[in-house]
């Protein structure tokens, strides 16, 4: 239920399509609920990370972070990529300049 409310709040059109990303800027970070903000800020700091790596920083359980990261992904703020058995989350791929 909480997940649903969060998604509705941040995605009023109910669009869960991962291909339409929203922007995870500081104003968005401010509007997120506390538990998701912590995860999102940590991911911003790490750049690209697994749920385990985020959990090491936030001192919360890996399964909890995995749930929050997937929530953020459904909201369109983060993306997920699988490399072998690991799932990596990121806000934006680093561009080669």
């Amino acid at each position: 239920m909480d997940v649903f409310i969060d998604i509705q709040k941040h995605n009023p059109r109910g669009n869960l399509d991962q291909s339409i990303p929203d922007v995870l800027d500081v104003m968005t970070l401010l509007s997120l609920p506390d538990h998701l903000r912590k995860t999102a800020v940590t991911l911003c700091k790490l750049g690209q990370a697994t749920a385990e790596e985020v959990a090491e920083q936030t001192k919360r359980a890996r399964a909890v972070e995995s749930g929050y990261l997937n929530q953020l992904m459904l909201m369109g703020y983060v993306k997920k990529e699988r490399k072998g058995r690991k799932a990596y989350f990121y806000v934006e791929k680093e561009e080669k300049e």
Partner: protein
């Protein structure tokens, strides 16, 4: 590992730039490696405080992703090191650059946040700097919130002005608390007659602790000679026995143990 310190305030003119320059000078005097960044892109001011032989790249260009951070750094250790390393990174003060920075979109701001966050790796880890000090824009600006999110310690400079107190209270609840940063208040420009005795000082601390939920790191008196100098002197370097310099020493030590 080093620390990123952001100076912020609700209102302008509270003394962020003066305090950030003097805190950087205080750490340099202690043999630390510091870099002072001008993140006030709406009203850049650090370029006026330091004499430089030209700028390789402005901080604006680094945030645009068109320049490496190493080209932004200006080494002022010769003039301001006093035993440590003193670098600065300047914001472009031209009207065109200010206009350009105020027209950035949310995606740009998101990337700018990523670039500020990556300074921790490039400057604190790789270059082994001890402190990065961010002088930010007042109020709720993208650039200042980006700086707050990137910082380890946030120093909120406030005055006794009622609107400043109310604004700072609001920002505490709606900004600083949300990002769970180590945040402290510096009450600046306090009239000297309010601090003539220890009991007066104690009462003021008590009053402030009832107003603010954040810790009061220091009360800084208003010094007429600092106002008279008009930003042409770095007191922490040039006047080691001045009470302002002594206050900065106390603040620097408190942040080291914060």
């Amino acid at each position: 590992m080093g620390k990123i310190i952001a100076f912020h305030s609700y209102k302008g003119g509270t003394g962020k730039t003066l305090l950030s320059i003097n805190l950087a000078a205080t750490y340099a005097k202690r043999g630390k490696s510091v870099c002072l960044f001008d993140l006030d892109f709406r009203a850049p001011s650090l370029h006026a405080a330091f004499a430089t032989d030209g700028v390789g790249c402005w901080l604006n260009e680094y945030l645009n992703g068109t320049c490496d951070i190493k080209k932004v750094l200006i080494d002022l250790s010769g003039q301001h090191g006093n035993g440590g390393k003193f670098y600065t990174g300047l914001a472009n003060p031209t009207t065109e650059a200010i206009r350009d920075m105020s027209a950035k979109d949310r995606k740009w701001e998101m990337r700018a946040l990523g670039r500020l966050l990556s300074l921790k790796n490039s400057l604190l880890n790789d270059m082994h700097l001890d402190y990065l000090i961010f002088d930010t824009s007042p109020g709720l600006q993208y650039s200042s919130i980006n700086a707050i999110v990137s910082a380890d310690v946030v120093l909120v400079v406030t005055s006794l002005d009622t609107s400043d107190i109310k604004g700072t209270q609001r920002m505490t609840q709606e900004l600083y608390d949300l990002f769970e940063k180590k945040t402290g208040i510096l009450l600046n420009k306090v009239p000297a007659e309010m601090l003539t005795s220890e009991s007066q000082k104690k009462n003021l601390y008590k009053k402030l602790n009832n107003i603010h939920t954040l810790p009061i790191l220091e009360i800084i008196p208003c010094f007429c000679d600092i106002l008279r100098a008009g930003g042409t002197q770095i007191f922490a370097e040039e006047q080691p026995d001045h009470p302002f310099t002594k206050t900065l020493e106390k603040i620097a030590t408190k942040i080291e143990n914060f």
